[in-house]
Symmetry: C2
Subunit: 271 residues, 2 copies
């Protein structure tokens, strides 16, 4: 198993590569994972989300245990919403409470699939080949907005705020999801502990079926949905999600005004 991460160097360059024994072995990109020859000590770098998705496709109702609790049938096709690129933050970055929202904010510990190759109308086998690796996602939700309007469930709004898609700390390749569990702690207390083998659609099935709905690009992330144990985070509270083999993703919820908003390097803008 290999561990891939993405960092900001102290000369403000974004670097991506394989991490071994405290050193980053830089590679050109996730799409072109060719070594550049550069080797950098991780201690001198600031961790970012391990990829820069153009979009995050987030699933609802993809675990049998949660479907049973909600008394909903499992779906025939993945049910999803889109979280925008601007919602993505990395491990240890703060989740920021929206300035105009005082309600409950929920955590959801999830497995994340990271796409490695452009993928469109892919078979399950082709889809499996297009997966670069796996990461951890905290699919944060402004819970009270979801059904605020009785005529239109606001999935994209409730889950799309800046900083509401925590991804990290790393991407693991050759990861055996069938034997792994997602363990979420809130302020040190375990709240979620569920097996990934309970998923309705396997990762390759998700990628295949979603690639029939839209082209998936290198770096895009599919958040596989959550299971039992979702709850809300108090301001100042800290959520840690651990998947053995990938690592632990920790983020703290910060109320507006408690911290200056972090400056994030702008993505390349096209005309």
């Amino acid at each position: 198993m290999e561990t891939w991460m993405r960092f900001l160097s102290n000369d403000d360059r974004i670097v991506f590569g394989k991490v071994e024994d405290g050193y980053l072995h830089e590679h050109l990109s996730l799409e072109h994972p060719v070594p550049t020859g550069a080797v950098l000590p991780v201690s001198a770098l600031k961790a970012l989300a391990p990829c820069a998705p153009r979009k995050v496709v987030a699933l609802w109702n993809n675990f049998h245990a949660l479907a049973a609790k909600l008394e909903k049938p499992v779906p025939a096709h993945p049910l999803f919403l889109i979280k925008p690129a601007e919602s993505v933050i990395g491990a240890a970055e703060p989740i920021l409470r929206p300035a105009h929202y005082a309600g409950k904010i929920a955590y959801e510990g999830e497995l994340g699939i990271v796409i490695g190759k452009r993928c469109r109308d892919a078979s399950v086998d082709e889809a499996a080949e297009s997966i670069f690796g796996y990461t951890i996602v905290n699919d944060v939700t402004a819970a009270e907005l979801l059904n605020e309007n009785p005529h239109f469930p606001q999935w994209c709004r409730a889950k799309g705020f800046d900083t509401f898609c925590c991804i990290g700390p790393a991407i693991a390749t050759d990861f055996d999801w069938r034997s792994a569990r997602v363990v979420t702690t809130l302020d040190g207390v375990e709240r979620q502990n569920y097996p990934l083998s309970d998923m309705v659609f396997t990762p390759a099935e998700q990628v295949s079926m979603i690639s029939q709905d839209m082209t998936l690009e290198p770096g895009d992330v599919i958040a596989c949905g959550t299971s039992l144990g979702v709850g809300s985070i108090k301001d100042g509270g800290s959520v840690s999600i651990t998947i053995d083999g990938i690592g632990t993703l920790t983020n703290r919820l910060t109320a507006a005004g408690d911290t200056a908003r972090q400056a994030v390097p702008a993505a390349a803008s096209a005309v």
Copy 2:
């Protein structure tokens, strides 16, 4: 009023600028509209969507006439879904029927707001300043997928397919939306003809309120929602949407296999 367009040159370069009397006066970008000095005859260029949004925010229920017909109250905050960047095509490009979907495909003629400056938690005045200009959007929908699953309305899936967000042909600045109408024809027959003054949230209000939900980036598009007269397009059918002062956006629905999928230049990919 100025007209801005984006093209592919015959040496495969993306060029953006102001169009006057059949010539493109190239500018650096939408975010930095500084003349490069180059002047190119439009006849030698292939038109693209006039901007390359990272995301398209598409509103539902933003016209009083449609709300009345649907017997829904007008909302207190814009209700929206996100269409991914991969769904965007320009004028004259084909809308492609998804390979695994044989159902109804609907057109929706809409005004599009094009963001010019990064915009977050903006007041209505700041929001007005962040608008670069206005374009036309055909917010295409795989209508039968929307409520296919009774437990989860699939807005992002039904409206997110590749080629399901037609944008163009141009961006008009200093456009007086209050006096303009959206006129949609299907195979030459008028189907929509509604005044933009009937909008629930004005463009600046939309940008302000949505900027409280997520950061809007230069080139992002808000599709302002549609009004009465939505209908479905037969394979081979052609939809033209005209807004005086912006132009006419025409796209034809093409069944799979009728045409090779157009190669679209990949956006810059970040690691």
